[in-house]
């Protein structure tokens, strides 16, 4: 295998599909996954700056459009739909709470009156039922929509770059933690598959396979299965060299520990200084020094790790553009929320129809930049010839 003269062996299934010199999109990301995550999280940050439903809808639209054109074909990408559903659920829950528990928003447009449940005196301040006003509902809807948009943006990040690819870019010293997180992340889909299989098996035993009871009763076997699988995976990882370390001189080890600990202390003290009124002078320098020391510690700590990277994702011009567009949206909306809070937070008392502020809307559209600068993945890797099991 060490020389190049190996022959292709009998895997007939792959004949004719060998990649030629054509540029491949598939797995090799065209843009650094970190750029997608920064972009999506920046859009999420922008969403927290406003409650204007039109702007929020625009943000959802922008992220949704980029996802539609640039999503990757991995199982994680399917989580976008799940995140959208989760967002809608959050919105619904927020509305239900506003209806059932009332709301501190004073309102005069009563939509309906629910019977109010009298509560004992120790539950003062909590109300069950009572009047439901249009203002309260609208406020809850705006608030819920904000959260939903945030969630959908996180979903977009998942769909555009798998979190596991992102973790590949962690510095060497953090790599092992990163793998642990990746493994934990891949466990969720396995757990869901297990739950499905075991609920199906309940049907074979003649027990109801639907409903909450069925779900609860498979809980223990599912956890047992997950535990067994994680032990098997740990064994596989161990035997593949996970956790091999290089011997480093004691001096380097001690310096690493000192730098990391000192850096963390510096970060804590600096943050404290920044937040308290008195420490305005020493806060920022201390914070920066702390961050610097911690980074140096991480870098030095990386020496203990033998790991090398296989085809690391390069951070290129496209990555800068993608990140930049997201950060610009966040920055401009933050600025707008300071300059023009009225437009970004439409009032609910009195009831008014929210208007679309022109400049913030234009700023949100900046988030579409990735759709223009990043070429679309050429073909989806789904291969119709080979059935998936």
């Amino acid at each position: 295998m060490s020389d190049g003269s190996v022959l292709r062996c009998g895997g007939g299934a792959v004949a004719g599909r060998a990649p030629t010199g054509a540029p491949r999109g598939g797995r090799r990301a065209l843009v650094h996954p970190g750029a997608w995550w920064l972009w999506a999280l920046a859009l999420g940050t922008a969403a927290t700056r406003t409650t204007n439903p039109l702007l929020l809808a625009l943000l959802i639209g922008v992220s949704g459009y980029v996802v539609a054109t640039h999503r990757i074909a991995t199982p994680a990408a399917r989580s976008y739909a799940a995140f959208v559903k989760l967002g809608l659920a959050v919105l619904a829950v927020r509305l239900v709470f506003a209806v059932a528990l009332g709301s501190p928003i004073p309102g005069s447009h009563v939509l309906l009156t629910l019977p109010e449940v009298p509560l004992p005196h120790w539950a003062q301040g909590i109300r069950l039922g009572g009047e439901v006003t249009a203002e309260a509902l609208l406020f809850a809807a705006y608030d819920g929509l904000k959260l939903a948009t945030l969630l959908i943006c996180v979903g977009a990040a998942n769909a555009l770059a798998a979190p596991s690819r992102l973790l590949k870019s962690l510095p060497g010293a953090l790599y092992e933690t990163g793998v642990a997180v990746v493994v934990a992340l891949t466990f969720a889909p396995h757990l869901i598959a297990d739950v499905r299989r075991l609920r199906a098996a309940r049907r074979l035993r003649g027990r109801p396979d639907r409903g909450l009871r069925g779900l609860l009763q498979v809980g223990l076997p599912v956890l047992e299965g997950a535990l067994e699988r994680s032990v098997a995976l740990a064994a596989a990882m161990e035997s593949r060299g996970y956790g091999r370390t290089a011997t480093v001189p004691a001096r380097v080890r001690r310096t690493t520990a000192a730098l990391t600990l000192g850096g963390l202390l510096g970060v804590c003290a600096g943050t404290y200084g920044l937040l308290t009124a008195a420490g305005g002078t020493y806060g920022l320098p201390l914070l920066l020094a702390g961050v610097g020391a911690a980074l140096a510690g991480l870098r030095l700590g990386g020496r203990r790790s033998l790991r090398t990277r296989y085809r690391p994702d390069p951070w290129g011009v496209r990555a800068w553009l993608v990140t930049g567009s997201g950060v610009a949206v966040a920055a401009l909306l933050t600025l707008a929320s300071v300059r023009d809070p009225e437009a970004l937070h439409p009032g609910v008392v009195p009831l008014v129809a929210p208007g679309l502020p022109l400049w913030p809307a234009a700023a949100v559209l900046l988030g579409l930049l990735p759709a223009l600068v990043v070429p679309q993945a050429p073909v989806s890797p789904r291969n119709p010839e080979e059935p998936s099991p």
């Binding site: 295998m1 299934a13 035993r205 027990r207 699988r229 596989a236 593949r240 085809r311 080979e386």
Partner: protein, 590 residues
Amino acid sequence: MIRFENVGVRYDGAAEPTLRGIDFEVPEGELVLLVGPSGVGKSTVLGAVSGLVPHFTGGTLGGRVTVAGRDTRTHKPRELADVVGTVGQDPLAHFVTDTVEDELAYGMESLGLAPEVMRRRVEETLDLLGLAGLRDRPIATLSGGQRQRVAIGSVLTPHPRVLVLDEPTSALDPAAAEEVLAVLQRLVHDLGTTVLMAEHRLERVVQYADRVVLLPAPGAAPVVGPPAEVMAVSPVCPPVVDLGRLAGWSPLPLTVRDARRRAEDLRELLAGAVAPVAGGRAKAEVPAAPVRASRRRSLFRRAAAPAPASVPGPVPVRETAPLAEIRSLTVRRARIEALRQVGLTLVPGETTALMGRNGAGKSTLLGALTGLVEPTAGTVRVLGATPHRTGPRELIRRVGLVPQDPRDLLYADTVAAECVAADQDADAEPGTCRALLAELLPGVTDDTHPRDLSEGQCLALALAVVLTARPPLLLLDEPTRGLDYAAKARLAAILRGLAAEGHAILLATHDVELAAEIAHRVVLLAEGEVIADGPTAEIVVSSPSFAPQVTKILAPQRWLTVTEVRETLDGRETLGERETLDEGEALGER
């Protein structure tokens, strides 16, 4: 390369040591096969090579295991990662990353190889294992054989000198197994890799082995030697060896080819006889033997050995009302057609084997019969009911399914509790399930935890649980996975008995030997369509990948199993002189 010196392993809390006095050596560049019945500690031996035993599993290791000169007592598995590559039973549990290319690179990254080296080796390995077209694919979308090849590739990239494999072909269909074995063959021949492998499906692997290490019983000393010699004394052996022993060939043939060259006499001896399968066989023409002779012989044979217990019983009359009927069934899931226009009728007393590649739709078809899968088009009727619209309590009286992993069906802490629960689920008389279990699996105590049972015992318990509701239609998904030959023979006997009682049995299996032994009828699926449906003899004999070994050896005669041959020969002896006369006649006619 690998040296075991008087090795013993005792797990914590176990009364008896799992291994005792293991003493053998694997020279560099050999493919060594580790065989033995279930539960003799094959996996423990493999684990000791990679250092997982005892560093990872706990327990005490006595003696010394050295791999490429490194003592596993002082080297942790991660420090052996550059000389030993290990692939466990379930390749899915082995994958750390989510795409093929990353997975191949993972081990090298851990070892800290230079990026250029990694790049080159990944490309080489992709070609070597025929994975180039799959490099970008998410691992979750690969078929079983592809996964196994990726798992092997992922441990090959660091260029280990030793490869340790635990049941690499057990879960694969015959073609995928060939694929994996071809790769191993190449590694041993071209790259000089040392391979140590445990496998139950000896018929697939024994001919590739340079040497066999047999663990005859728990705690017994291993028997090491060339395959032919060890197979002569082994309690587990593939049909080709069994046939060789029966015919008294020495040295024993291990491949179909060798056996064919020795089998001329045997073929002559059997020439006139009709194989005792009463089923499709009797209806089918037997082209090998002259018609006149064959007719006469079959009369003798019946007189001599009436209804031998080891072959499928008489084929049920197809005119009886069908138990289950599937008409132009189509199942579409996630835009993929899992089944397309499938039609199938199951009648009482008939055993049907459902065969085909991994992913051909076998499990989906079983799912449709149990209502787990809703048909997109077409109808499924089981005793007049539509499975997916029938409540579970009703359904289990009509159809029972033992899933691929029988443990899925078991929830309770003890065997007794499991049986009580099964009686309640099925509204059966208390004790029904326990009685069934006592029949299927004598000697299991009430307080055993189902997880402590072996694969075969688990299957028996799940079968008992399913049979408690007395379903006339019994489905089994891949029942022989992980079973040794003894457990398989027991299962075959049980299923034969159930078919004789009038159960309709449908089993999805890759195991051609099992299908040959018990099925009256074989249905072949490919890409969701039925491509063949007919008597076992007709279907498997004509297929190179689905023909059992005995068929291949004795072709063009149509024998399926060693038991058939044995019984015919036994019957022969009782016929005495007459037989020799016939023999000459038959020869003359040829």
